[in-house]
Every structure is written in C-alpha cells, then in structure tokens.
Symmetry: C2
Subunit: 216 residues, 2 copies
Amino acid sequence: MKQIPEKAIERLILYRRILMSLNPSDRPNIFSHELATLSGFSSAQIRRDLMAIGYSGSPVKGYSLNNLVESLNEFIDSEEKQHVAIIGLGQLGRAILNYCKNRRKKIEIVASFDKDPQKTDQVILGTHCYGIDKLEKIIKEKNIRVVILAIPAEEAQEMAERIMKAGIRGILNYAPTNLYLDNDVFVENRDMILAVEKVAYFSRKIDKEGFVESLS
Amino acid sequence: MKQIPEKAIERLILYRRILMSLNPSDRPNIFSHELATLSGFSSAQIRRDLMAIGYSGSPVKGYSLNNLVESLNEFIDSEEKQHVAIIGLGQLGRAILNYCKNRRKKIEIVASFDKDPQKTDQVILGTHCYGIDKLEKIIKEKNIRVVILAIPAEEAQEMAERIMKAGIRGILNYAPTNLYLDNDVFVENRDMILAVEKVAYFSRKIDKEGFVESLS
DNA sequence: TTCACACTGTTACAAAAATCACAGCGAATA
DNA sequence: TATTCGCTGTGATTTTTGTAACAGTGTGAA
Ligand SMILES: NC(=O)c1ccc[n+]([C@@H]2O[C@H](COP(=O)([O-])OP(=O)(O)OC[C@H]3O[C@@H](n4cnc5c(N)ncnc54)[C@H](O)[C@@H]3O)[C@@H](O)[C@H]2O)c1
Ligand SMILES: NC(=O)c1ccc[n+]([C@@H]2O[C@H](COP(=O)([O-])OP(=O)(O)OC[C@H]3O[C@@H](n4cnc5c(N)ncnc54)[C@H](O)[C@@H]3O)[C@@H](O)[C@H]2O)c1
C-alpha cells in the first residue's frame, strides 16, 4: 500500500469523529458529499482518502456508517490499547487529562507524572500521579509509548531526551518550544499562542478582503 | 504581493518565536541554515519564506536578528493591538487565559465570558469575566474580532453563530466539534484527542518501521 | 587588486496534493 | 427489458508546495 500522507491521516481521524457523532439507526448510510459538508473537505477528497485505506462503498447507498467507522478504526487504531502518559499536571495537564480520559477505546492514559511532591503518589482525575523519579520504571512497566508534555518550556528539552531514552515514540508537546530529538520520535507541537496569532492574522485578512477560501 | 500559503504563515510565526528566544547581543546575526536547524525546516524553505515577505539579509552576515524579527512583526502583526476574548472559563479556558495573557505585544485578551454566575462579574486571572448576556455589548465596546472557544461541544455551534453575528472574524475552537459558518469567519480547530490519536498513529508507525521522515 | 569563500535571492525543477471528470454500476421506474 | 439516475472509484490533470541549483555579492586573505 502506498504511503498515506500525514494530512490524509488527520482527515481520516476527523472523519471518524464526525461519523461517530452520527446515529446509525437514524442514518445507516452516508454519501461522500454529505461527509464533505460535515467535514469541510471536498467529496472527491473524501472518496480518495477512503480509497487510500481500501474502503469501498456502494454507488447506490453510499457508505455504510457502521462499516466505515469499523474500517477507520482498523486503520487508525492499534490492535492493543495504546498507553499514554501525561507529564506535568498543572492547569493545562489536568484539563487535558480530564478531557482525554476514556474518550477512545484504544487510547488510555495510564499514568501522570509531576515533580511537585504535593501532586505525586495519589490518584488525580482517575489516574495515578507518579513522582518524576519513577518515570523510566513506570514507562517500562506500563508499556507507555506516547507522552503528552505539559511542563514549562525550560524543562521540555531535557525531559524529551529523557523519555526518548526511556522508549517513548510519540510526543504531543504543549510547551512553547521546539524539541530536538532523533528522528525516531514523532513530535507534534501545539503551541496555543501560535494558534492565536494565526487566527488573528487570518481574521484581519478577512476583515480587509471580506472572505476566506480555505477552511481548515 | 502574491498570496502566501497558510502553512507558510505558520512557519513565519514559528520563526519569530524561535528568533525571539535568542539573545541578539550574543548573536546579532543568523544564517538560514541555523534557523533551519532550530525550526526543523530546510534552509531553502526559510530563504523562500523570507523572500515572500520581502525581507533581505546579507550574503555575508546572514540575517540580522533584530531586523528580521522587526520585519516578521510587521508582517504578522496588525498595527493596532488585536483584542481577543475567551468564552468558557472552565479548566481549559483558565489554562489558556493564564498562558496567553501578556505574551504578545499586539494581542491582548480583553474579556472572558461564562454562563456560570459563580464566575461572572469578577476579575479572573487578570481579565474581567462577563456574563454571556453581555456578549454582544462587550464585543462591540471592546472591538473584539477574535475569540477562543472553550465551551462544551453541544453549545459550540450556537455560540459560534452568535459571535459571528456579533462581528467576530476568527475563532480558535477547542470544542471537539466542527463549526458550520459562513466563510467570512476563519476557524481553527484544535481538538486534543485528535492530536493524541495522530501521535499514537505515527508512534506506532515508527515502532514498526524504525524512523520517520517528516517532522512537523 | 585579485581571489576564494560562504552565504543569499531567485529561478528552474520535482514532488506532492487536490481537483476534475468520467466510466461503471445497481436500483428504481416504466 | 430498457432507460434513467446519482453515486462511487479512479486515471488524468491542475495546482500547490517544496527542493535544488546557481548566479550574484560583500568580505577578508594574500
Ligand atoms: N496554560 C496553558 O494553557 C498552556 C497553553 C499552552 C502551553 N502551555 C505550556 O504548557 C506548560 C504547562 O502549562 P500550565 O499552565 O499547566 O503550567 P503550570 O505551572 O500550571 O503546570 C506545570 C506543571 O508541570 C510540573 N512540572 C514542572 N517541571 C516539571 C518536570 N521537569 N517534570 C515533571 N513535572 C514538572 C509542575 O509541577 C506543574 O505541576 C507550560 O510550558 C506552558 O507554557 C500552557
Ligand atoms: N479540558 C480539556 O483539556 C479540553 C481539551 C480539548 C477540548 N476541550 C473542550 O473544551 C471545552 C471546555 O473544556 P473544560 O475542560 O474547560 O470544561 P469545563 O466544564 O471545565 O468548562 C466549561 C466552561 O464553559 C462554561 N460554559 C458552558 N456553556 C457555556 C456557554 N454557552 N456560554 C458560556 N460559557 C459556557 C461553563 O460554565 C464552564 O465554565 C469542552 O468542549 C471540552 O470538550 C477540553
């Protein structure tokens, strides 16, 4: 199978979220143009994305909702549950933990870490918070490969190197700094202030020009 | 000037963040390949992006740090401060507010809104929190064009339509739902669980294949 | 003064991504 | 049974995005 581009993966994940929010008993099938309206992408784009994962619909009925979600699950998810940890249970870390827990069948937040002794060695928001000294031990024990980083920027690089050595393969980084790592770790940066700046930029553009072509 | 693609805007904003974190007295100039290392993009990409905004460096010294940041400011920022509001001062909203306030000269969070009377009519984290009934009034009074949405998904669409009518031109949406609006509003969606799924997917890929080509 | 050097700016090229457009299909209709 | 219809799947095409390559440039060494 040909390499599926990163952007297409993002779209597929979005399609799934949209489809899961629909009720299959109301609406057993969906056409590409309907999903297009719901997602903001073109129907051709959607057909092609689904082609990429080898899913086929019926030219008459469209796509079976249950069926398509199942195919997306198969493509996006791992067989086994994937174990995730959050490092840094500050304001942001707690918000993320609270939001993400139990939201997906195949993703489970199995541990959190903090360096503040007031927070460690107790269950916070349903997840045990460990001291940072137990990091390597717990990562190994609980078979964690993905980390959500929500610690201050100054600490992020050091921590990233440390968890990389401990076997982490994916980092969702909320600290406002780039991480410099070997390329056998996938890093996704989510700096909120950059997002605000981007929105501010394009909102101004709209104000001046009166419209925008692309919706993300 | 030719249309600069959305991705290029994101890169330019990132360049600025990186450059601002450097000390111009240590290092008055920077070469494209150095910024490449710091940002993870190629040096050719960087030269081209800077060309797009009409910035020129010296073939001998490279780019003057101060100068380049100034040019980026001019390109990215508006002349006037842009006024931003946060709607929904829950866990996430407070974290965002706390993080974003006073971080950029040209972006100011001038109001927050919540429907919970316990939170309204007081200053929270340095910003006045208004009741949701004052929304239109305050948006107009304070000349707000950009909103950060951090309310539950079920309420997001209705609220989005309401603020659109009130004159908002850009929405940074943290609710896990798509917003359906006229295309004279720029919407940037930031669903964290989708981000986790993406990282989980690529981390698995790395585990299987041993490396990754693209760093975001 | 000449030359080598290491960079930039820019054009030419390549790759990737999105869109178009249409053949093919099964159901519904008559 | 024949015909129409609106959809999917997919090759062809266009558009967008990124990369490579190199001429041009100021500096400092000789
Ligand atoms: N608050 C936001 O909305 C927001 C948004 C984007 C990015 N960020 C970034 O996310 C990070 C956290 O933000 P926050 O608002 O939660 O801050 P916070 O100060 O509330 O929380 C930081 C937490 O990390 C812990 N910590 C610090 N260093 C650590 C280390 N080395 N190992 C383990 N734990 C450590 C602290 O004990 C604290 O609990 C910061 O980098 C911030 O800039 C925050
Ligand atoms: N917590 C997270 O990390 C996280 C991450 C991603 C997305 N989200 C989403 O962001 C939103 C907020 O998350 P949270 O954890 O802060 O939830 P929360 O319940 O702590 O906060 C929600 C806040 O919004 C207010 N609110 C609700 N409806 C409103 C309305 N119509 N107008 C004004 N205010 C209203 C509530 O009073 C509350 O203060 C939710 O949609 C959540 O799914 C949260």
